[in-house]
């Protein structure tokens, strides 16, 4: 409840999260994890140096980030959370080092060459559903990932 309480304590109209009472869609993993190509999507407002940062007025844009990027080149720009720790160590919202470690250990097959970042807390569920979600889904399919790890903020 604390997130809902926090949002309503901020003086905005009470925000209602999307409510889906139906069973979510379901896709079985097609192969063992150790053979999977994993894609990463994070909504911590991550961008890399050289890219345009997010603006804080209902930005629904996406940043494509090479997963070979040195983590110190990652930045964050987000309107809704304390970024102190994310700016010290972007892995806390965009866990590239952990994923690379799991590839090295053989837990997963490989990390997709591209990861995707946006700024969560988008007010319009309609724009997420109709614009952002299909764009991310299309790109993950194009990248031929077997499994997507989603890291919201």
């Amino acid at each position: 409840m604390r997130t809902r309480d926090l949002y309503s304590s901020l003086g905005h109209d009470p925000y209602r999260w999307v409510r889906n009472d139906d069973a979510p869609p379901w896709t079985e993993l097609a192969k063992p994890l150790r053979e999977c190509r994993v894609g990463l999507v994070g909504s911590g407002g991550v961008y890399r140096t050289g890219q345009v940062a997010f603006h804080h007025r209902d930005d629904i844009s996406l940043r494509v980030i090479d997963t070979s990027v040195p983590v110190p080149e990652l930045r964050t720009s987000h309107f809704a959370y304390d970024q102190t720790d994310a700016r010290t160590d972007p892995n806390v919202v965009f866990p590239l080092d952990a994923l690379h470690a799991l590839v090295a250990e053989g837990v997963i097959g490989e990390l997709s060459a591209r990861a995707y970042a946006f700024m969560g807390g988008i007010y319009s569920a309609r724009r997420v559903r109709d614009v952002l979600a299909p764009e991310i889904s299309r790109r993950l399919a194009e990248d031929q990932v077997d499994l997507a790890l989603l890291v919201p903020v």
Partner: protein, 127 residues
Amino acid sequence: MGLIARRVEADGIPTTSLTSALSITRSVNPPRAVFLDYPLGHTAGKAKDPALQREIVAAALAAVDELDQPGAVKMLPYRWSRDDDWKRETMLNGDTRSHRSSSPEYQCEADRALAVAAGDCPTCVFL
């Protein structure tokens, strides 16, 4: 992110979602979620603790084999601190969010200079 999880999964790619906001996750109802009871902004662990981050991400990935009910949530055992005072502090801090304008908010001014120097950003997808 739950809406994105549902779309990606519906399009045929399995997803696993870390979350630190259980009420949102229960409401939006993604296919598989893994709950970490940490303050906002630490969905994948604590800063400069790669071993913990690795455990959390491994647990999120393992959920794909463990969860067999659509909408199931796996609860992680990690605690942010020995007590739950941080939850109260989150509330007391009130609105710490930044002013909302439609110009890019860079982490630092050097980033703005780099982005301007780079010109068109082919890896920025403006929707």
